[in-house]
Symmetry: C2
Amino acid sequence: MSAPILAVSRRTRRTPFSPRVEAHGVKGYTVYNHMLLPTAFQTVEEDYHHLKRHVQVWDVSCERQVEIVGPDAARLTQLMTPRDMGRIVAGQCAYAPLVDENGRMINDPVILKLAEDRFWISVADSDVVLWAKGIAYGMGLDVKVFEPEVGPLGIQGPQADELALRVLGEGVRDIRFFRFAWLPFEGHEFLVARSGWSKQGGFEVYVDDAERGLALHDALFAAGEDLQVRPGCPNLIERIEGGLYSYGNDMTIEHDPYESGLAKYCNLDSGHDFMARAALENLVAKGGPSRMIRGVVFEGESCPACVEAWPAHQDGAPVGQVTSAAHSPDLVTNVAFGMIDRGAWDTDTAIIVETPEGPRNGKVTDIPFM
Amino acid sequence: MSAPILAVSRRTRRTPFSPRVEAHGVKGYTVYNHMLLPTAFQTVEEDYHHLKRHVQVWDVSCERQVEIVGPDAARLTQLMTPRDMGRIVAGQCAYAPLVDENGRMINDPVILKLAEDRFWISVADSDVVLWAKGIAYGMGLDVKVFEPEVGPLGIQGPQADELALRVLGEGVRDIRFFRFAWLPFEGHEFLVARSGWSKQGGFEVYVDDAERGLALHDALFAAGEDLQVRPGCPNLIERIEGGLYSYGNDMTIEHDPYESGLAKYCNLDSGHDFMARAALENLVAKGGPSRMIRGVVFEGESCPACVEAWPAHQDGAPVGQVTSAAHSPDLVTNVAFGMIDRGAWDTDTAIIVETPEGPRNGKVTDIPFM
């Protein structure tokens, strides 16, 4: 079929930047956290080349924040993740799997520690606010849990530092990777983090004032003309090349964090109380996962969008499935993520990927691809 | 701008019926509970006329089920809603606002009581499964909470009874409104409820077996040829005419159930323990809501899609906002829902609706429109 139209309603929320995104000729949207997320401005491949060479401004307002604030905020935040949050200081961002009492993935956010008693959980596509509210209510915790009106604006690409410097000032130089600071712009202090859903470097500005956010957006485009700044968005090809997983695509509530390739964030020795502890200790005691997210490359000029998992097999026996795939112009092959069984997950294992266009010869690889 | 393309991925889940929906030439999709929901097959207006005259088969798989099962299932289900679940018997469906401890709307599902210790919550667009899991964990309840692989297939329209009778047999006659029964089809028993998100009558078949669901789908089309059966979907015009609210459009987590027009489901006198009790009793003690969902009609040939709330005012003073709107061919006017302030909510109050195409003269009305 031809690509379907997205019927937009108030429920698929627009963002403060939607008018700009549309003036820039956005080609496609997806819906993420009940909100519009652009998926292409030129073609995905043209956007990819530009992102890897220049700088882009991204409307990622759909990375919603779940604010947890109050005397029990640190306790609740730690309960939700096996990552040792005791090592995270105020001003730091922490990529952290959220894992339930069964050891299953609820989300894989970046958690911003604003203060000892205040966190923003910058979530992937599931209603973490409801989970956190439920736990807090059930345990009678002394916290407030809500979604503030905050949406990130991304500045991504090799020229991101230069552009951010021009608009947000010298303060950006002092922000280390996965740290944040409050920087002034036209009299308003924005939270600026050195982070983002690409591997090309850059920042996310947590916009908590729509009008000033628009002024910032426009200032970035004005200041970046000679840098060839363009509108952009998380890019399917680049995020696979760079090894960035997508919750809902590459792992779901059916998977545990070990299967999801997130073992290093499972700090079972932290001594902290987190709700997945018993389940994860049990998984480890049983010898670890029997399948895991792995890289996959496979032959062929290009591949269609992976809108449903594609079976992978070896000599006719199923060995897992491919969950995200794209043709990489720079690697001149198709790159993919797959949930691959233990028996086939070693690097360079030959597998067959059943795409909608037929079987393709492939092999298992390490992540990231580049 | 022209209508944007929806970029589909595994995360925006396809349904067992997506291949049929696409073969039928679906014109638009939305994303609902992380899943594809068709929005039009001909035009919304052509679909509307057909729905009100004939019978349609709807892929509403996105009405996901949250299963709550176990010794504490009834207790947890009652905790989440102010509706008196003690009056609901096994085999019954109950439209029930889910309301948090602050008295705010989490969802407005239909709850199916499968047994004294087993419920399916057929949810609108928010991750109720995460909220329920959080509460259950926090309180240490003895329940399992999960999303089973069940998605409804709707049979809607004035000829729905005839079509269901032909395919599902005489058993459909005995199903009263908002009741369900297990009916055989090709050796499988499907849960069939007399319900659906239209006011034209019909059924929802809770498909728990994708392959047999496809056979059922195809049997409905084969048996309904002389009834002019067509693919359909929840229809914006018909649902507004009929007074069916949409969570995320007409009310959100910002609103309480009184504002949401759901006072009759707030059974404060039930004696049951539900988490919103204190908040709702407080709202009532304060004299009830200061704004409420009301019907609105306004002039003009037709109106654009309401993708952001439209302000409503009276002599220049704001009196609320319109949240869903469509031109009704049968009523020959624009019909809408709005969250209208107390001072303006009386029937026939004249108001101005600020549409993107300019102000329109309108008035407040009762719901439903027809």
